[in-house]
Symmetry: C2
Subunit: 138 residues, 2 copies
DNA sequence: TTATGTGCAAAACATTTGCAGGAGT
DNA sequence: ACTCCTGCAAATGTTTTGCACATAA
């Protein structure tokens, strides 16, 4: 997709951005679609995909390419890490300091021009941990 | 998929594992399929998917859920980090020490039972860096 | 007015699955 | 023999795309 200076401010774009901003759950495109559809029932899923993609290229939102089958989107764009529940797939923020120097460490041992990094923790969220305990009892 | 003690040693499984072991390129399921098909022309793509999944659950190979649209597989199972080329999608190993203590740091600030982490660097590989330079000249 | 954006539906991918026949053990 | 496994093809799930109409600027 091409960035052009004449990007229009449409109702669809405003509402997608508003709804994404309301939430800290790193929704998938489909979840954003469901949220937005409550206010704009005739919006198409394609429009949601197109605009999430466009906004992530512009840098006003973040596209998370974490594990699992779907991409997720985040209105919080300052660098931070994530944790994903191996059982239910939920993604949360992890509030530990971002390691700025690690990119240089990686650049020193590789042929790549290193531009960034992301840390994804994995584990079990509270709810899923509790469910496992209950199952142990049976 | 269920792990049963009576997992059979089939020709397909042997060859998938052999071909994956020959290579350090973190191939996608389709790339493994292409490699294996040279030796077993009648193998089905479903069989490749089923067995890569099974092997990664057993722990004899690694399933990489990195960015991009496809999952990738790795015969090297000891913990290590990766870098992905933003231009061509290639994935390489990054030989920096694994941070064992970082899981505890994450556990301290979250409600999750933290089980692991992965670091994915992103950047431009040698070939793609050079291509960008050439385009600058034009 | 005119280029950009949208809705809709179809296409394109990536992956999973049902099933009848095939092969390890 | 008795399971488990495979090939095949169809189904599923996610994302992208073509096109005619709509709309922001």
């Amino acid at each position: 997709m091409q960035l052009t200076p004449q990007m229009r401010l449409t109702t669809q774009r405003q509402i997608i951005l508003e709804e994404l901003g309301k939430v800290t759950s790193h929704p998938t495109a489909n979840e954003v679609y469901d949220m937005v559809r409550k206010r704009l029932p005739r919006i198409g899923l394609g429009t949601v995909y197109r605009n999430l993609e466009l906004m992530s290229e512009t840098g006003i939102i973040l596209k998370l390419e974490v594990g699992g089958t779907q991409k997720r989107f985040d209105a919080t764009i300052d660098p931070h890490y994530h944790i994903r529940c191996l059982s239910c797939g939920k993604v949360d923020d992890i509030e530990i300091p971002v390691m700025e120097d690690i990119n240089k460490t990686a650049a020193a041992v590789s042929q790549y021009q290193v531009l960034g990094h992301h840390i994804e923790f994995s584990g079990l969220c509270n709810e899923c941990s509790n469910m496992e305990e209950e199952q142990m009892v049976n």
